[in-house]
């Protein structure tokens, strides 16, 4: 079983490279039981979205 700390590293790396099958399965299993890490994943997904809109954002409607 992955620790939460290790899980956050895999969640971050999943944004930069495809995970291996074993990593992926271990991650899925951990997320199934851990709402803290599920929230961490949601937070860093939002962070990516926020960063992407930062460049092209405007204060008004496009």
């Amino acid at each position: 079983m992955l620790t939460c700390k290790h899980t956050t590293r895999l969640l971050s790396e999943a944004l930069d490279r495809p995970l291996g099958k074993r990593e992926y399965l271990a991650l899925r299993l951990h997320l199934l039981f851990c709402r803290g890490c599920r929230a961490f994943r949601q937070n860093i997904y939002v962070l990516r979205k926020v960063s992407r809109s930062f460049m092209g954002r405007d204060d008004g409607p496009n």
Binding site: K5, H6, S12, E13, G36, S51, S53, M55, D59, G60
Partner: protein, 221 residues
């Protein structure tokens, strides 16, 4: 990394406001210049964060503004102009980083990075599972946040308090859209090192935004 208390949501001064919609016929050469100068601080901040070099940042922004003024007729609105300005600055920043390669001064920054790791470790119990008080919670209404100027002020502050190298790697990845391989090569880092830095940046920004925006929201109710 925690969000500076003084700068929490609500304590921020209002941003200088620029009108959103400008009637095309009302756009004289003077108002274009004014409009573009309105974006200058933000462009400069972006270039400075990326380059860690005030002179190079000034140059990149100045060149972008001059290019924008030359082609100004093509831009019907403020939004298109701003996107275009950022695109030019972005290209100049990438060129500069590629040219300069690995001449980045790292020495004094190591401690900040260690501090961030310590703060991150403190979120966990001995067994490396979340400690109940610091367990992450889902962020509510991200779409709404994107539309609020104050959110972007919080975001910029969170970026500014990141250690320089951490911020740079994060921005190369998420703002400039470079692949990790290219970032590692440009900055002469190992892939493992790059991954560690990106994780540190994301974890730090996540914590900062939780405290400075998303958590503040929940605590208010």
């Amino acid at each position: 990394m925690s969000f500076p208390a003084m700068l929490k949501k609500g304590a921020l001064p209002p941003l200088l406001s620029v009108p959103n919609r400008i009637h095309p016929h009302a756009m004289t050469a003077i108002s274009y210049t004014e409009l573009i100068s309105g974006f200058r601080p933000q462009l400069l901040k972006f270039a400075r964060l990326q380059l860690q070099d005030d002179a190079a940042a000034e140059d990149a922004v100045q060149e972008a503004i001059e290019a924008a003024l030359k082609g100004i007729e093509r831009f019907a609105g403020r939004s298109a102009l701003k996107t275009w300005l950022f695109t030019i600055v972005r290209h100049k920043v990438i060129d500069f980083l590629r040219e300069r390669g690995r001449t980045v001064q790292v020495s004094s920054l190591e401690r900040d990075e260690a501090d961030m790791d310590e703060a991150f470790d403190a979120l966990f119990r001995e067994n490396e599972h979340w400690s109940p008080v610091s367990r992450p919670r889902p962020w509510g209404n991200p779409e709404e946040a994107l539309e609020q100027q104050q959110f972007w002020q919080v975001f910029e502050i969170c970026l500014e308090v990141l250690p320089a190298r951490t911020a740079r790697v994060f921005m190369m990845r998420e703002f400039l859209g470079l692949e990790t391989d290219e970032i590692c090569t440009t900055l002469d880092l190992s892939t493992g090192n790059c991954n560690v830095i990106l994780h540190r940046a994301r974890a730090g920004l996540r914590q900062c935004l939780s405290e400075g925006w998303f958590g503040a929201e929940a605590a208010r109710c």
